[in-house]
């Protein structure tokens, strides 16, 4: 017994020494510990790890940049930058893109990543039997070839002004040649700085640093992503230190995170909360009625009520993340209930108008109740119908059996939907369709952005929809966590640059 007792302090001393030495190796006191694990709260858990055939932002949020990489990526400011490619050259006609890959690229299993893997992955996307949800991103691609192991040549059938953006997104993820698609749902062998260590379904996914990473290795040794849908539970987890980072906090409850222990970082999102108007239906086909609807809703008030001010007006179907965002469009149809009433009287609906408002019940009822109440003030009687999302997809999105609807269009750069006359807004305008067509094949970014700005202004002047707001992306960070992404965190969460000092 005596011997054992003597042994304990000895072991303790040895342990302290070991810790001190490892600390010294990683750069001494104050530097981020090299073996830190970060606990992060996310909202939506993916149903599968298969990035090639399963849709949903949860998959790209988890896997893009972290586990899978594309030829290009987007930096923290949203700019398109090379990733697997070290440079790209474009032919003068804009139809041929040539990428030179970095040397020494490897997959997480240690095997080399060559142009053959890129060709195999991208040909799978454009194959006729492809189930890739982002297949349309590669619609212009006619050929993907590998003249040598370091070069990839992609040829297009027409100019595509959004092609480099598509190469930063999930269609561009590079998988190892010959990977059995059946294994992708549960495992992932990408080239990113992290690997999937474990998945506790219904609870968390653990990422571990990829020790074979070809580039600058991740700062963190691991990240545990806790899927906590309930905001109160998530707040409690953050307050008690169970999580280090809380993404997607309820903006109306942020006062809990005042003080030196937490910082709340803000960023922009591609989310657009759209009050969809069925342009093909009865009184709503009259542009004056649509203007009246827009003028009846105080968007600034809604941002205060629903988001405690953490959002911004957008004035058209363009998010602040899109290069052609124009904040000036918010001056179209300002909040003016008397003007709205006058417009309604002019159209013969001065005595009132009955409309249905169909809203998926995944959103806070506060938004729909607010809109219904405000429209009621100008004499538009709204029957508010919360429905399951599947019902919404069938009734509103597919059959356009609705008058008004509220839904979050989270997709970035999706203004092209307004050029589709069969989209659920049922808006058809030859000029908009022409501009959108020209924009998608524009020779330069400036030309493309100019044309999309024209589209954005025209659809706002035509009051196709009312654009309620784009919410601010919020992240609550425990003191000591730095480098956490703040932009579009719902669909992309590059964790390689994050550092964290050990929790107190």
């Amino acid at each position: 017994m005596i011997r054992v007792r003597r042994l304990v302090p000895l072991l303790l001393a040895a342990a302290v020494l070991a810790v001190a030495c490892s600390g010294a190796e990683s750069g001494g006191a104050g530097a981020p510990a090299a073996d830190t694990t970060l606990d992060v709260r996310l909202v939506l858990e993916p149903t599968s790890l298969d990035i090639t055939s399963v849709a949903g932002a949860a998959i790209s949020q988890l896997l893009l940049d972290n586990v899978y990489e594309g030829l290009l990526t987007r930096d923290a400011g949203g700019a398109i930058v090379p990733l697997l490619a070290q440079d790209v050259s474009t032919s003068p006609d804009g139809l041929t893109y040539t990428f030179r890959l970095h040397d020494g690229l490897t997959f997480a299993d240690g095997s080399p990543l060559t142009s053959a893997d890129v060709v195999w992955s991208y040909r799978n996307v454009i194959a006729p039997e492809s189930k890739n949800p982002n297949k349309a991103d590669f619609a212009a691609v006619t050929g993907v070839d590998a003249p040598d192991p370091h070069t990839v040549v992609i040829t297009l059938s027409r100019r595509d002004a959004n092609f480099t953006y598509a190469l930063t997104d999930r269609a561009a993820a590079v998988l190892k040649q010959g990977t059995d698609p059946a294994t992708l749902a549960g495992t992932a062998n990408g080239s990113g700085p992290f690997v999937i260590r474990s998945w506790q379904r219904g609870s968390s996914i653990t990422l571990a640093r990829n020790e074979h990473y070809w580039g600058q290795p991740a700062n963190l040794s691991g990240v545990v992503l806790h899927y906590i849908p309930d905001t109160t539970a998530a707040n409690n987890a953050q307050l008690t230190g169970e999580t280090d980072v809380e993404t997607g906090p309820d903006p109306t409850l942020l006062s809990q995170f005042q003080g030196p222990d937490f910082t709340v970082a803000e960023g922009v999102t591609s989310d657009k909360f759209v009050l969809g108007i069925n342009n093909g239906r009865g009184p709503l086909a009259d542009v004056r009625v649509r203007h009246a609807i827009r003028q009846a809703i105080d968007k600034d008030g809604l941002i205060r009520v629903a988001l405690a001010g953490k959002g911004q007006r957008i004035g058209s179907g363009v998010a602040p993340t899109d290069p052609w965002f124009d904040a000036g469009l918010t001056s179209i149809d300002p909040y003016d209930p008397p003007a709205a009433k006058a417009l309604l009287a002019e159209t013969g609906f001065g005595s009132g108008l009955d409309l249905t408002l169909v809203v998926p019940n995944i959103y806070s009822a506060r938004i729909g109740e607010y809109v219904a109440s405000q429209l009621g003030q100008v004499g538009i009687r709204v029957r508010y119908e919360p429905v399951e999302f599947a019902t919404w997809l069938d009734r509103v999105y597919t059959k356009a059996d609705y008058d008004l609807s509220i839904v979050d269009h989270a997709e970035a750069r999706d203004i092209g939907n307004y050029a589709n006359p069969d989209y659920y807004w049922r808006y058809s305008d030859a000029q908009v369709q022409q501009w959108a067509d020209q924009a998608s094949t524009a020779a330069s970014d400036a030309e493309r952005d100019g044309l999309y700005r024209q589209v954005a202004r025209k659809i706002s002047e035509d009051a196709v929809s009312d654009w309620l707001y784009s919410p601010t992306s919020l992240v609550v960070l425990r003191a000591g966590v730095t480098g956490f992404p703040t932009r579009e965190t719902n669909s992309r969460l590059d964790l390689a640059q994050v550092t964290a000092s050990a929790a107190q």
Partner: protein, 285 residues
């Protein structure tokens, strides 16, 4: 009987609460201090007694007192109609199960099976299929509580059916329908009244629970359960607001329960005369 109920303090308290609920529901039909669904982004989270808001406002600037008044309507309506459904279901099943015909045993077992099915679960299934509404809540609560009523009523009916006066009526040539109408129902009525008064309390609670879970009254119709659900997430920031709907639900449930207790005391002679055996409730007409 009314006098007997009102003479007991608990009965009086219960009656007052129930009267207030009905009064509030009726008043809200014609008048509320503010439009309960009117949002006002300029006056969110007002404390009580400010800006003319008796209980203050919620995060959308809606008047809480008006929402409570309008919510009383949903509560009173759901409780009343669900109790009617429960009475129909309960009496119907009990008669089928108690009257000695082929099939009675099967119905009795069916009742036992249905009693085991939780009301909330039934309501959620109905809401999933038909969409959440006041009516799905009414039907689910009515059926869920009705089978409990049926179980109690069946036992009472069976004992009444074994009484000599029923035998006498049968010998005199009375049909089953007449016996049920003239003998069975009047004799089990007191028990039914007590049971149904408890159903009222259960219905208030169940409606609040269903709306809280999102399976009951759909927005924007104000409902106490939905108010509670909407406001509880702000309990750490605005602790007072959640008290109002919570208290309203608790007080009304208590009121119905007290009234039910007083009714039972008033009706059940065993409660009035301790130590004495229950006399026959009614003799032959």
């Amino acid at each position: 009987m009314t006098r007997r109920v009102l003479r007991s303090p608990t009965g009086l308290a219960g009656a007052v609460v129930v009267a207030l609920l009905v009064l509030g529901a009726l008043v809200s039909l014609v008048w509320t201090p503010f439009d309960p669904t009117l949002v006002d982004p300029a006056s969110t989270w007002l404390p009580p007694l400010s800006g003319g808001h008796l209980l203050g406002t919620d995060g959308s600037g809606r008047d809480l007192a008006s929402q409570l008044l309008a919510g009383a309507r949903v509560t009173a309506f759901t409780a009343a109609t669900a109790t009617v459904v429960a009475a129909v279901v309960g009496v119907g099943l009990a008669v089928l199960a108690a009257v000695p015909r082929h099939g009675g045993e099967v119905v009795a077992h069916l009742i036992d099976v249905l009693v085991a099915l939780p009301t909330l679960l039934l309501a959620m299934v109905l809401a999933a299929v038909y969409g959440g509404s006041v009516w799905t809540a009414v039907v689910a609560i009515g059926i869920g509580t009705g089978v409990n009523v049926a179980r109690v009523a069946r036992a009472e009916m069976t004992s009444v059916l074994g009484a000599d006066y029923v035998l006498a009526a049968e010998v005199a040539g009375a049909g089953t329908g007449r016996i049920v109408r003239r003998h069975v129902l009047p004799n089990v009525a007191p028990v039914l009244v007590v049971q149904l008064s408890l159903v009222l309390a259960l219905a208030v609670l169940a409606e609040a629970a269903l709306s809280y879970l999102g399976f009951g009254t759909p927005p924007p119709t104000p409902s106490w359960g939905r108010m509670l659900q909407d406001l509880q997430q702000y309990v750490t920031v605005h602790p007072l607001v959640v008290v109002w709907p919570g208290c309203a639900i608790a007080v009304v449930v208590l009121g119905f329960t007290l009234l039910g207790d007083a009714l039972r005391d008033a009706i059940d002679p065993r409660m009035r005369l301790p130590g004495q055996a229950a006399p026959a409730v009614e003799v032959l007409p």
